[in-house]
């Protein structure tokens, strides 16, 4: 093209030289994991027309598994046949080969591989020193690795500079562009328990096109919390994952992980302090795909809006899960002053249709300074069977003449301890 001539004439050496054949050739290949060759068994029986021909053909085929030719998954490794996809958190590996195509010795070869992302430029070459000479038909090889940390367009920029026998300095570059895609979709949800516990539900979806083995999905809690993973069922001796023995995720499959977070005692004491937005921790995800190709991602810090408790928080420290019908049982309430002022509290207990409180209602609890809390044991009984809601506690701050109502604090299961003679 003529235009090309014009442009290069206007330019410096490099473009000028680009017109002529370079003595060196640069080749780049992405090294994904090799794959296992699969063959296609077509068999027949001895009495069929081909006799043992098909069997013999399969036995002679070097890619079949000897002794079990019908097994399609062979042992022969094949090199990657296309660029494939690359996902955030995976390692990008590439073979860079500079070959002397000419018949003369080339000197002072410098190969440089840079990766340009949308935000930065990284040097990936193993060494930055020049190779003093390269004979004809010889190669300079380099295998580069880079853990991909950004999505979007990446450009591998390979630059080669060298000196010919005549002392001419030459230089050329090549660009290789690829897109880094997102491998996983993560959604989270928090549940606040009656106690200080927080449950985190994390849905992780594989949005790649190949199955993923989830090697590790763990929650790294922030300073304030301890975490328990609730993703395995422990039987007598060993614990088994809730996802089964082979924990891999098919494309577009979603899996739900559950974690329980408990504030550490020192933070729990100051329960009033856990207010507003708090940092819970982050998810750490490690997966593997074809032949152990590994990827790792972390979420950003997960944040949760702590439930608002108003001025006075009433939580339960102790409550039985199952009680007997019409038999008194004990609960322990913890009352925390979450406000900025001192309170003088009076506790009233109102019976509901099913719940009957024992003891004196309207008793003085005394003064409660900000962030202080006190525990009160209470006794009550239920007159109705089934799952009953505990309601009817009233706290009145005599300073402000303000009443706080606490209904549906918790549930207990009420059962009849006697078996009726009829049944």
């Amino acid at each position: 093209m003529q235009v090309k001539g014009q442009a290069s004439a206007a330019d410096k050496m490099e473009v000028n030289q680009a017109k002529q054949e370079h003595l060196l050739a640069l080749k780049v290949m992405r090294l994904t994991k090799p794959t296992l060759f699969t063959n296609m068994p077509v068999t027949c029986e001895d009495r069929d027309l081909p006799g043992d021909l098909f069997v013999r053909l399969m036995k002679d085929d070097p890619s079949t598994v000897k002794g079990a030719e019908t097994l399609i998954l062979g042992e022969m490794l094949t090199l990657p046949q296309n660029f494939g996809n690359i996902f955030l958190g995976e390692t990008f590996s590439s073979y860079i080969s500079v070959h002397n195509d000419s018949n003369q010795v080339v000197k002072d070869i410098l190969v440089k591989a840079d990766l340009q992302t949308s935000s930065q430029r990284l040097n990936l070459s193993a060494s930055n020193s020049a190779v003093s000479e390269l004979k004809p038909e010889c190669c300079i090889d380099d295998v580069i690795h880079h853990e991909v940390k950004e999505i979007g367009t990446h450009i591998l920029v390979c630059a080669v500079s060298y000196t010919t026998q005549t002392g001419e300095k030459l230089y050329f570059r090549k660009f290789f562009k690829f897109q880094v895609l997102k491998p996983l979709d993560v959604k989270t949800k928090f549940y606040n328990a009656e106690t200080d516990e927080v449950f985190l539900e994390a849905q992780i979806q594989n949005i790649t096109t190949s199955p993923m083995f989830m090697e590790k999905v763990s929650l790294e809690p922030s300073l304030m919390y301890n975490v328990t993973e609730l993703n395995s069922v422990s039987s007598s001796s060993e614990s088994e994952s809730t996802f089964g023995r082979m924990s891999y995720l098919q494309p577009l499959d979603t899996r739900q992980y559950l974690y329980c977070l408990k504030p550490k005692p020192e933070f729990a004491e100051k329960a009033g302090v856990i207010k507003g937005v708090t940092v819970i921790g982050k998810l750490d995800i490690v997966w593997k795909t074809n032949l152990g190709e590994r990827g790792r991602l972390q979420t950003s810090q997960l944040q949760r809006m702590a439930p608002g408790y108003g001025d006075v928080r009433l939580s339960l420290e102790l409550i039985p899960d199952t009680v007997s019908l019409e038999e008194p049982f004990d609960i322990t309430c913890k009352i925390t002053n979450c406000s900025e002022r001192t309170m003088d509290l009076v506790l009233e207990m109102c019976n509901t249709r099913s719940v009957h409180w024992c003891g004196v209602s309207g008793r003085q609890l005394g003064k409660l300074t900000p962030n202080a809390s006190l525990s009160i044991p209470l006794k009550l009984l239920s007159s109705v069977q089934g799952l009953q809601s505990i309601s009817g506690l009233r706290l009145t701050d005599t300073f402000l003449k303000r009443t706080y109502e606490y209904d549906d604090i918790a549930q207990v299961c009420v059962v009849c301890p006697y078996t009726s003679p009829e049944s």
Partner: protein
């Protein structure tokens, strides 16, 4: 840098981008070819980075509503824990004016992209499917830019000079905001787009490396035109790599499967008109002559008996085949062997028809044609030798002349000839020959849907033909020809239907292997579920027959006394058939990537094939390595500790190393296998592959190359050749010559069924 010339392109690119934007807004992007190519040309940096966070969240809102009743919070994922924050690297000395131009085009480009991201991303994946990167050469980019200038410059009213400083400026102002966003990628809040992509079957597949260079563009266009049928990749396993939702296993010989071209409508131009349409043989009776098929010469040598009855032509044809038993003679000896092998349980409807034929309530003539299998060839000539074609193209006619392979003409026109073609791997010629033999039988081209009689031999011919089509990866063709056979349960596919020809003989004419083949076929055409359905049907029949045998009945459940030897032999046969079906199921499940069921099924085969225990367990281990399931009991490493031949153990250890990215130790292991078994092709090939990953291309290449030359019988295999040609491509720009040398090597050894794709010459 020439000051008068160099600044010029920059402002112009800016102007073009502006123009591009307005253009894009009104006109669909594809309409303007120059614009299109221009966009491909430019290096655009991260389109997504420019998508504003609000956009994302609103995307997500709507998605949330759709997907979840309970609202889930979207989460930001920061990159891997060991990421370091780095400052934006300054555009270093390497990035000179060219790159600045690219950066500029980028800006315009991304803006366009925001408007139609979906089209852009949908279009991209069509390209670049090769492992080797295609490069974007700078020279061509310059050409592009200059082209642009010439085209658009007149429309550009902006003064050029004042703008010369802008590129640098813009890059500076552009970077900082992006910089802040670096360490944490906000990738998880834009759910909609990526998901949509994932749902498009090949949305992800080829992706990534754009190849803008026009030279390469040419070769790529055909792929774009027929993406479904033609897949350029060779026949290598993809089951564990990026799943190609499009015909993964299809078309290793895609150049031949571009279906219509090989389904020749009529036979006139067929390769050997003389042989295919001979003058009618005078020896054949009026009955055969009535059939419109040009009845063949193949039968003349044997068809010497005078014709007797109307039923005869068929039986007469049968006598032609060397293995064909004389129907009248064999009628008296219903051998146990036949009974054992032919046993099958027809469906209830078919059974009723067969009973009424046997009891002479109706004659076969009265049976509704709908219920009968009336096959015929759907295409009749797929002669062709891809190796020879390639030789003609690359090495010239002279060299191509040297290529000698057997064709359908050069062998005996009977089963012996057929076997010769098969064993010399001339499967295309063999398919042709089956076509001729079937034509002679009255089931030739266009005969589908016409009443016909089946014989043991005609069905064997069909089986061989269809099996070879599958072996040649001509799946569509096989499916087409299988179609008239339905479920292989038509009454006329049973011996009972022909009481005069096969008196006393019972059971299925369809060989068991043909049923398996019939079941396996759909999985290669993206219908694995159909394959599983069919396999389960076969499996249940096998189990029923086995239980009949165990209960002291005959295979078909009738009260017949079998001798003990007979019974044991029959049980053994049906157990092996059952295990064959299970193998097919496991293989199909593996292709579907349902690893749990696949592993279970492979495990259950051990019970039937105890002598294959080691191979099966190793295979299961390899499946586990694919998915990396480290649970105690059945891991890859666990399998390797089983007592077994040291060779297998070492090679299994090597695979475990491989999965740990430890190519050095994997190489050592494969090499140690070679000490025990120096000729082991798998270990040799695998050791060479490991060397490549260790950055030792020349050694790896040398090893493979010497093997191929020393022992072509073992190493002229498509997987090895594929590896070798890939390395040639990586090694030097002169790979074509070396590939041609391989072509010559294969030409003198391989038959016409050789998969030339692995040579990557085209």
């Amino acid at each position: 840098m020439d000051s008068s010339e160099a600044p010029a392109p920059r402002p112009v690119t800016l102007a073009i981008d502006g123009a591009a934007e307005t253009l894009e807004a009104s006109v669909p992007p594809q309409t303007d070819p120059t614009e299109d190519s221009f966009r491909e040309e430019s290096i655009d940096l991260d389109a997504e980075a420019f998508v504003s966070p609000q956009d994302d969240s609103s995307h997500f809102e709507s998605l949330k509503d759709k997907l979840n009743d309970q609202m889930m919070e979207s989460v930001m994922i920061s990159d891997s824990p060991n990421s370091e924050e780095e400052d934006v690297a300054p555009i270093d000395s390497l990035l000179e004016q060219n790159e600045e131009e690219e950066a500029k085009t980028t800006d315009g480009d991304t803006e366009e992209r925001n408007e139609d991201v979906s089209t852009a991303s949908a279009a991209e994946p069509e390209e670049a499917s090769e492992a080797l990167f295609k490069e974007e050469s700078e020279e061509e980019k310059i050409v592009q830019v200059d082209d642009k200038r010439e085209n658009v410059a007149p429309d550009d009213p902006k003064p050029e000079a004042p703008k010369t400083q802008e590129p640098a400026l813009e890059i500076d102002t552009d970077m900082p905001p992006k910089d802040e966003a670096v360490p944490v990628c906000t990738i998880f809040n834009q759910g909609v787009l990526p998901k949509a992509q994932a749902l498009i079957p090949d949305g992800f597949q080829p992706t990534l490396v754009k190849s803008p260079s026009f030279t390469i563009g040419n070769t790529e266009t055909p792929n774009k035109l027929v993406p479904q049928v033609c897949q350029p990749s060779p026949s290598l396993s993809k089951f564990f790599t990026e799943s190609s939702a499009v015909n993964p296993a299809s078309d290793f010989f895609d150049s031949f499967t571009t279906s219509t071209s090989f389904i020749s409508i009529s036979n006139p131009n067929a390769e050997s008109p003389k042989a295919a349409a001979p003058p009618e043989s005078p020896l054949l009776s009026a009955a055969t002559a009535a059939e419109t098929v040009p009845t063949s010469t193949y039968f003349t040598p044997v068809a010497t008996k005078p014709q007797v009855s109307p039923v005869e032509p068929m039986s007469q044809l049968q006598t032609v085949f060397p293995s064909g038993d004389d129907p009248f003679g064999s009628a008296l000896i219903t051998s146990d062997l036949d009974k054992r092998y032919d046993a099958w349980l027809p469906s209830d409807d078919t059974r009723k028809v067969l009973i009424s034929v046997a009891t002479q309530q109706i004659s076969p003539v009265q049976i509704d044609r709908e219920q009968l299998a009336m096959p015929g060839l759907k295409f009749d000539n797929l002669q062709g030798d891809a190796v020879k074609d390639l030789m003609q193209r690359f090495l010239g006619d002279q060299a191509a002349m040297k290529r000698q392979v057997l064709s359908a003409n050069s062998v005996e026109q009977n089963f012996l000839g057929l076997k010769r073609l098969i064993s010399t791997k001339n499967w295309r010629a063999a398919v042709d020959l089956t076509g001729r033999l079937l034509t002679a039988h009255g089931q030739g081209y266009g005969k589908s849907g016409q009443p016909t009689n089946h014989t043991t031999d005609s069905l064997q011919l069909w089986f061989v033909r269809l099996a070879l089509l599958v072996k040649l990866s001509l799946f569509q063709n096989a499916e087409l020809e299988f179609e008239p056979f339905g479920n292989l349960d038509h009454p006329n596919l049973y011996y009972e239907y022909y009481p005069t020809v096969y008196p006393g003989r019972r059971g299925s004419m369809v060989p068991f292997s043909m049923r398996v083949l019939h079941a396996e076929l759909p999985q290669y055409l993206q219908k694995p579920q159909e394959t599983l359905d069919r396999l389960h049907r076969i499996k249940s029949v096998c189990q029923k027959i086995l239980s009949n045998l165990q209960e002291g009945l005959a295979e078909d459940g009738s009260m017949m006394n079998l001798t003990q030897d007979n019974r044991l032999a029959s049980i053994q046969l049906w157990r092996s058939r059952l295990s064959r079906v299970m193998y097919s199921m496991a293989n199909c499940l593996l292709m579907m990537k349902d690893y749990v069921l696949a592993v279970e099924t492979y495990h259950s085969i051990i019970e039937y094939e105890p002598e294959q225990r080691v191979q099966l367990l190793s295979g299961i281990g390899r499946i586990f390595l694919q998915v990396r399931a480290e649970t105690p009991g059945v891991t890859g490493s666990d399998v390797k500790t089983l007592p077994r031949p040291p060779k297998t153990a070492r090679s299994n250890t090597a695979f475990v190393y491989l999965s740990q990215n430890n190519y050095a130790d994997a190489h050592t292991c494969f090499s140690s296998v070679l000490k025990l078994d120096p000729k082991n092709p798998v270990a040799n090939n695998n050791a060479a592959v490991c060397l490549l990953y260790l950055g030792r291309l020349k050694e790896s290449l040398g090893q493979l190359e010497s093997l191929v030359h020393k022992d072509p019988a073992l190493y002229l295999h498509e997987s090895v050749l594929f590896n070798l040609t890939t390395m040639y491509e990586l090694e030097s720009s002169r790979s074509t010559q070396k590939k041609q040398a391989l072509l010559e090597a294969t030409a003198c050894r391989e038959g016409d069924s050789f998969n030339v794709q692995c040579l990557k010459l085209v």
